[in-house]
């Protein structure tokens, strides 16, 4: 999470620039504000026992600090994910169901499908890649596969015409710019990989 916060701070201007082009230019600061608050909350909370507790704290913090479209979407994602793990560590299978739950949460709130140029275009391929990798690899492999797929999914939003969210107002003009929410999703998963690599040593 701390990795995510620092990556999002670093990526803030990039996200903002993407959102400036096809949205309203606040996605970078929304995410930065949210994850800065998450880090503060985690500092206060000491060390929660289960992964689920951490995810729930993240969920409620994002929900109450991000605002915008991405606030309730990421909030719901983390909330749903928090419900599927009540242990202190995760195994590959658990990671997959966590990602599945998160994605289902975003779909339930935002009613977007793949190809509508939203964060779903990063989450959905990430989930599928995680499912595939879980058969053969360890947690790090699964995370890496998910992050790579999210990265590819985000890049693949560039030519799309948005039909959900603020970018949809631009119609054809939304093509040619990457979706900011898909980019922030890719950043989050990449941060998870970095953090996991550090833990693995």
């Amino acid at each position: 999470m701390r990795q995510a916060a620092s990556d999002l701070k670093a990526g803030r201007d990039e996200l903002t620039e993407l959102d400036r082009r096809i949205g309203d230019g606040d996605h970078g600061s929304n995410m930065d504000r949210g994850f800065t608050a998450v880090v503060a909350k985690l500092d206060d909370a000491g060390s929660p026992e289960t992964v689920g507790q951490v995810l729930k704290l993240v969920a409620t913090t994002l929900m109450s600090t991000v605002g915008g479209a991405s606030g309730p979407l990421y909030g719901t994602a983390f909330l749903r994910a928090s419900k599927v793990v009540d242990r202190a560590t995760v195994d590959p299978a658990c990671l997959v169901s966590l990602a599945e739950a998160a994605t289902e949460g975003i779909v339930a709130r935002g009613r977007a499908h793949v190809g509508e140029k939203t964060m779903i275009d990063a989450w959905q391929p990430a989930v599928e890649a995680a499912e595939q990798a879980a058969g053969s690899g360890d947690v790090l492999d699964v995370l890496r596969a998910a992050a790579e797929a999210a990265e590819a999914g985000a890049v693949a939003t560039i030519p799309l015409v948005a039909t959900k969210g603020r970018a949809s107002y631009l119609g054809e003009r939304s093509a040619g710019t990457e979706d900011p929410g898909a980019r922030s999703t890719a950043m989050l998963l990449a941060a998870a990989v970095t953090a996991a690599e550090e833990v693995a040593g």
């Binding site: 309203d24 230019g25 605002g67 979407l73 039909t163 603020r166 119609g171």
Partner: protein, 331 residues
């Protein structure tokens, strides 16, 4: 970027503080979370009308808190929807036992956050209804968009709903009237300049020296298309034509004409646009029964204008004319 602000991340809070001090007779400002309620609260037993959304549109919404209009307003960060817990706090503060109508501008962020707040309110046993405002004809309302945006027409819906609540209508009645107002109103806007979100520090889009952006929203987002600037008549015609293409105006229809500045437009120019738009409506067979001209639903310092037309009937006229006493609208 030159702005009369100190720390950009505190801009909304600093501004709300000043607003609360300047209008202490009409509103009370609450911090952490930020919301604004009527001084003295909603009269007991009266339906509370609550609205909110991203900041940067001042005086919308907080400027309309007071007798005859809103009972609470929930300002998010600049151009960012408020969070569900913030909305919930405002709803609880405004509820006077008769339920709460939420007036929500149709943006994914606002819809999702208010929806979540309504679920939380239900869990707290506060009855809520909500009405979506989606008056912006620049956006096609279709499968391929998030639907039409809520823009300046929001003021009309808030005024009508607030007047209905003030005369003692039930939550169902206030909600029905707000729906009727929302379906009677259409808007279309143009930007002459972009605006700069404080914590972004650069303009929300780039416009050439003599380009204007037609069909903008109120969040500094780019619009439908760009044209070369060509005087008030040409620009106004584009706006009014778009509205008239969308709304069904019977011969002799009675309308409200609301010409709204985007924040950086001189009042004198708004009246020029008003004169042209009014003539177009008259030529179209409409009767301009009520008028409003001013910068009420803005995009920070953006220069530009929107034209809003609402089709009136006797009841909507009565509710529009009903007394209102708020920091930004009084009659």
């Amino acid at each position: 970027m030159k702005k009369l602000l100190d720390d950009p991340s505190q801009a909304v809070t600093d501004s709300l503080r000043g607003f609360g001090l300047a209008h202490a007779d009409q509103v009370s400002v609450h911090h952490e979370p930020n919301y604004v309620v009527r001084a003295g609260g909603t009269p007991p037993g009266q339906v509370a009308v609550v609205s909110g959304g991203g900041s940067g549109h001042e005086p919308l919404h907080a400027g309309f808190v007071g007798a005859g209009m809103l009972d609470a307003a929930v300002p998010g960060e600049v151009f960012t929807s408020p969070t569900p817990d913030q909305v919930l706090a405002a709803v609880q503060a405004a509820d006077a036992g008769a339920g709460v109508l939420l007036i929500v501008k149709n943006y994914t962020g606002d819809v999702l956050n208010f929806e979540t707040a309504a679920e939380l309110a239900e869990a707290e046993d506060v009855e809520t209804t909500s009405v979506l405002v989606n008056d912006d004809v620049a956006v096609e309302d279709s499968l391929y968009t998030a639907g039409r945006r809520g823009v300046a027409g929001t003021l009309f819906v808030e005024k009508v709903a607030g007047a209905a609540a003030a005369r003692g209508d039930s939550l169902a009645q206030v909600t029905a009237l707000a729906e009727r107002a929302a379906s009677a109103v259409r808007s279309m806007g143009v930007a002459l300049t972009a605006c700069t979100v404080p914590h972004v520090g650069k303009p929300s889009f780039d416009l050439g020296e003599d380009e204007v952006e037609i069909g903008i929203g109120i969040h500094g987002e780019p619009g439908r298309h760009r044209v070369t600037a060509s005087g008030a008549s040409d620009i106004t015609r584009r706006l009014v034509d778009s509205v008239l293409d969308d709304i069904e105006l019977a011969e002799g229809a009675r309308v409200l004409l609301f010409v709204n500045g985007m924040g950086g437009t001189p009042a004198s120019e708004l009246y020029v646009v008003y004169g042209i738009a009014r003539q177009m409506l008259v030529d179209h067979g409409a009767q301009v029964e009520r008028s409003l001209v001013g910068s009420y639903v803005t995009s920070l310092e953006m220069q530009g204008v929107s034209v809003t037309v609402a089709v009136l009937d006797d009841e909507l006229i009565e509710l529009w004319d009903a007394p209102v006493r708020t920091p930004a609208l009084t009659w």
